[in-house]
């Protein structure tokens, strides 16, 4: 095979990677800027990090977001894994077309429509069955489960597609009960996909602005909602500090996840 090194191709690729990373790097650098002005370098300082710790509104928003993200990612992974298994493994699944349609549509649905329609659902439910009386963490969690499930299904289905089924068949042939085989064999084999599905759902939930804004009620402000309100007015140095903290957390999470899944793959 001819592997030419086209200078044009290399420079486009470099431009692309620069586009992806320059904004992130610049935010990290300026988060340590002592000056309030964006472009003026006023010396190294951690004052924006210190001021974050004193910001009660911000901390409670961050906690709310984390709580919602953990709960919704966990439930979305459980429900999504079931859908993926059913779509990939069950023959002649009743309502298969509708199910696979409902599970792929959220991937490309404009968030603004998802948010608006879910809000209308919650309002209709409140007047019909009296729940939810107050919108907030619970309605946001439900909304997040619904859209992040779709991403979990994609991740788990692609893992199932390449999974060797002979182990499960052997366990079945040896008389293993289906539920036992599922938890003892299928789940461990799917674990890397479940971990990455969970992480994906967690990140999507932590990041969601539009859908949360629609289905939230007074008193429930998630971190992205708070950040959006601040950022609309322009650059603020404490947001740079938040971004840097989130980048650090993501790097830790991704490294841990790849170590876990990498080790599993090595031992299997």
């Amino acid at each position: 095979m001819t592997r030419r090194r086209s200078p044009l191709l290399i420079s486009i690729a470099c431009f692309g990677y620069a586009l992806l990373y320059v904004p992130i790097v610049s935010v990290v650098i300026y988060s340590f800027n002592a000056s309030r002005l964006v472009t003026l370098w006023g010396g190294f300082s951690t004052r924006w990090y210190v001021s974050l710790l004193a910001d009660d509104k911000l901390l409670s928003a961050a906690l709310l977001s984390l709580r919602i993200a953990v709960v919704s990612a966990t439930l979305a992974t459980a429900l999504g894994a079931l859908v993926a298994l059913a779509l990939q493994r069950v023959r002649r699944l009743p309502g298969r077309i509708l199910l696979s349609g409902m599970i792929t549509a959220p991937l490309v649905m404009p968030e603004i429509i998802t948010g608006l329609s879910l809000l209308f659902l919650f309002i209709s439910m409140a007047s019909l069955i009296g729940w939810p009386l107050n919108r907030g963490a619970s309605t946001i969690t439900i909304a997040h489960i619904t859209f992040s499930m779709a991403y979990v299904v994609v991740v788990v289905r692609s893992r199932l597609a390449v999974l060797d089924e002979s182990l499960e068949e052997a366990a079945m042939d040896l008389g293993g009960r289906p539920v036992a085989v599922f938890f003892d064999i299928t789940v461990p084999m799917l674990l890397p996909a479940l971990v990455s599905g969970w992480l994906l759902a967690f990140t999507l939930s932590l990041d969601d602005l539009v859908i949360s804004s629609f289905v939230s009620g007074p008193g429930a402000t998630t971190l992205p909602m708070l950040i959006f309100a601040k950022v609309r007015l322009g650059v603020t140095p404490d947001i740079n500090a938040i971004t840097t903290i989130i980048i650090a957390l993501v790097i830790i999470a991704v490294t841990t996840a790849s170590l876990i899944t990498g080790r599993r793959r090595a031992t299997m």
Partner: protein
């Protein structure tokens, strides 16, 4: 039951069939039902009440007496050329954004796919990695770079390339940049998985037969990568049409995108029936690309089933 007739074993099938009812019901309630409700509200009249629209069913002493529905909200959208312009402008901006993503994403995917396997993994990871960092914060990062007093203008002026700051923020340019930046991984991934699978023997054959590299690309690689191009473009175009965050943070006052208008219609004007009608029309515009995308997605997964 014979082993190969049902390779996963019938009891598990039964178990799964039963268990999948839960997510099924969940999706019916929280994904499908909301769309029916939004459609219902779009054919109601706005009133000053809570909720601010008329009921679809008119109840009398002996049950349902009739149905009250109106097409007035849709007629309003069509009469008022403002909405037509916004829909067209959203489609145009999403299309240009998609094209720009393709122009950047294709060479990148091609470049990655032609690297040795080990480096391929690293380069691909480098494309996906930013996706894990908050989308909102990554869009925010551009405000600091693009502004009149931003990093880029500051740099260009200090080295003397320009003397007046370039207006790069709060206009359509910034929105295109935002679309390309945020959706680039969605363009590159389908293209990469397509280009990586390409049968290189065909390219070698073309080269052996004396085809110039550029001709071999246009005649062999490009046609074979069309499924990847379509997949990537749909993944960028569909969400870009309804995008809210990018035009809200990077766009100017004259950047017309339907996501932003819908947001204002709902949060500022509080006209729910019109907001619903705006959503239904947006959904109708997107239904063809969404169905196309689902078709591609299913074909990909069914092929491996």
């Amino acid at each position: 039951m014979s082993h190969d007739a049902n390779k996963y074993g019938p009891p598990t099938q039964r178990w799964l069939r039963r268990a999948v009812r839960l997510p099924y019901l969940w999706l019916l309630l929280f994904f499908l039902a909301p769309f029916l409700i939004i459609f219902k509200i779009s054919i109601a009249d706005p009133i000053v009440a809570q909720p601010p629209f008329t009921a679809l069913l008119v109840w009398g002493a002996h049950g349902i007496q009739g149905i009250r529905a109106t097409v007035e909200n849709y007629a309003f959208l069509f009469r008022d050329s403002y909405y037509g312009i916004i829909y067209l402008s959203s489609l145009k901006m999403a299309a240009i954004g998609t094209l720009l993503s393709l122009l950047l994403g294709y060479p990148m995917a091609y470049f990655i796919a032609r690297q040795p396997p080990r480096r391929r993994q690293i380069l691909l990871l480098a494309v996906i990695l930013p996706f894990w960092i908050s989308f909102l914060l990554r869009i925010y990062a551009w405000i600091g770079l693009l502004g009149n007093h931003g990093v880029i203008n500051h740099f260009l002026m200090s080295v003397g390339i320009i003397h007046q700051p370039l207006t790069m923020l709060y206009n359509d340019f910034a929105v295109y940049l935002g679309i390309v930046y945020s959706y680039l991984p969605f363009m590159i991934l389908p293209l990469y998985s397509n280009l990586e699978r390409l049968n290189l023997d065909l390219l070698d054959a073309a080269a052996d037969l004396g085809a110039r590299p550029w001709r071999a690309f246009v005649d062999v690689t490009l046609p074979l990568s069309i499924p990847g191009i379509v997949g990537g473009c749909l993944l960028v175009f569909i969400p870009a049409v309804g995008e809210f965050t990018i035009p809200a943070l990077l766009g100017g006052a004259d950047t017309l995108m339907i996501g932003r208008v819908l947001w204002d219609e709902f949060f500022v004007s509080r006209d729910w029936p019109v907001a619903s009608a705006v959503s239904v029309v947006l959904l109708l515009l997107l239904i063809a690309p969404i169905v196309w995308f689902q078709h591609l997605q299913n074909r990909e997964l069914e092929a491996t089933r």
